[in-house]
Subunit: 333 residues, 2 copies
């Protein structure tokens, strides 16, 4: 394969194809993240905005609307709304997880304090609701407010399920839908709704976002045991140290003998971790093929996302979104 056939990454191609509209989204985000009265707000939000992030979710909204032939202005508002909800949940997640790093930079809760993260997150939530009312489309409001509720519910469920060895793959999936897939599926669905697409196309867009989000999160949880911190901005084994019961461990626990079960109880349920425990955990994950099985699950969801998107009319944007579904699991090869 010659150099000329090497393609850019799909989210970079999306960014290039949507650059004018993303410029409008970024301008709107900067405008609405400001605060006339409270100087702490722009400090915290500028820190987040500068940290970058791929802006994948707003691009999904723009792309979905374009694929469905939308030519109005409001997909920009909805894209900004989706990014605001995402940013607000990041701020609150970092408080809940007591994180010190996000996107390779110190988190807001570390630079300022938990109070600022909680309240600036609330401000961004409120701003997102102001933004989403502007298109004057009630169905869009339903979808986005339902997504916000599912996100919070999933986070609370994770709080109680995370260190409970009886958590099974169904509960894991529910948590993942809440923490990741709900906003992906809302992002794509509202793009179709604002374009006035027919119900089958809107459903296909929802299904794409749902499956893409699940594939993305499973891949993320797998990379936590595989990846290196330079690629992910996270340290290998963070989830283990934070006693998070993610899919690889759920699979290993399901296959565990008595001694292994005692190990998971001590390290995850009781949180009594010692030197060498991460290495032993990795050994058990490999012994039961848990990492490989998790990878297969991620690939399956990626295939489902591609099949859903294939139901939409052919266009270059559609094809890049199909490639994106491959890309989120390409990190796992």
């Amino acid at each position: 394969m010659g150099l000329d056939t090497v393609k850019a990454k799909p989210h970079d191609r999306l960014a290039a194809m949507l650059s004018d509209e993303m410029a409008a989204v970024n301008a709107l985000i900067r405008e609405r993240m400001a605060s006339k009265h409270a100087p702490r707000i722009p400090e915290v939000t500028a820190h987040l905005v500068e940290a970058g992030g791929k802006r994948l979710r707003p691009m999904l909204t723009l792309a979905a609307a374009n694929i469905c032939g939308y030519d109005g202005p409001y997909h920009v508002h909805l894209a900004a709304t989706v990014e605001f909800i995402h940013t607000a949940t990041l701020l609150h997640d970092d408080v809940v997880d007591e994180s010190a790093q996000r996107r390779g930079r110190p988190t807001a809760n570390l630079l300022w304090d938990n109070k600022s993260s909680v309240l600036v997150g609330d401000y961004l939530f409120a701003r997102s609701f102001q933004l989403m009312t502007e298109p004057g489309n009630l169905r869009v409001l339903e979808i986005l407010s339902n997504a916000a509720a599912t996100i919070a519910e999933g986070e609370v469920l994770q709080l109680t399920a995370a260190q409970d060895l009886s958590t099974d793959e169904d509960i894991y999936l529910q948590v993942v839908r809440g923490k990741t897939a709900a906003l992906f599926s809302a992002a794509t669905e509202v793009g179709g709704v604002i374009a006035g697409s027919d119900p089958a196309q809107v459903q296909a867009l929802f299904d794409y976002g749902d499956a893409l989000g699940i594939a993305f999160q499973i891949a993320d949880d797998l990379l936590d045991y595989m990846g290196d911190s330079s690629a992910t901005g996270k340290n290998v084994g963070d989830d283990f140290r934070e006693r998070k019961l993610t899919l690889p461990v759920i699979k290993a626990v399901a296959a565990a003998d008595e001694e292994e079960r005692a190990f998971w109880q001590r390290t995850i349920e009781k949180g009594k971790q010692e030197e060498g425990d991460l290495e032993h955990a990795l050994k058990l994950l490999n012994k039961h093929g848990a990492l490989e099985a998790t990878r297969e699950d991620a690939l399956g969801w990626s295939e489902k996302a591609k099949a859903s998107m294939a139901q939409l009319p052919q266009s270059e944007l559609r094809d890049v979104m199909i490639e994106l579904a491959d890309f989120v699991v390409a990190r796992l090869y």
Copy 2:
């Protein structure tokens, strides 16, 4: 005056006059506070719901709608929305303030943890936005999402202004509008809007809620230095110990000589408090007439609320709302 002319407290009379509609509001609150998936959510919300509270805000919405002749069902949704926003902000406030007591009971962050308070608060915010979309009235969505943004902005402003002796009465008022008056004024305004009232009446309802909220918060800040904990559920001097620059202290700082200024700098700005400091603070507040001047401000806002409400058509509900504006400052006599 005979016993038969002794009237019940205005919020109790409102509760009696609106009992059927409040029963519908309470049923809706119970229904929507539940969670199918995350058992922690009903645990935390039940704790809050059982703690009671006067449900003043939802009653204001119901009363405003009734005064304007509304006979549809949606004021119930809006009243529940307002209570959800209020409850969500209480959960987050208790995290931010590191409170141990609310309404005379241990706070949720103490019984569970800060994580649960943050995430269940987010859940209630999301639920409030689901609820407020149901009447299908876009103006109502604007008002309530604007109020949510003003609340968060006011809380962040308070965070940075609270321990800064240069905070003046204008900034204090901005904080109070954010933390209290914005939800009161939204509560009354949406009642008028859903009833389809004319702009002058809607404005009068907004002004009533705004002034009532400000009078209420000033009275609360004053009672922190006057009241006893059995009446307020708070300990006298809590705000002083938490280094909150409320109106009484702002007035005393403005009148302070050099030595007194050093005292406020040490106790509020630097937070180096010693035995006997609260007593000395009270002495300074009295010396400069700061408590009396604060009381006059509260009474002035109460009068403004009454004058605004007097612009609405006469009815028994209207007159009880006028009495309510007297009542919130009656604690100060």
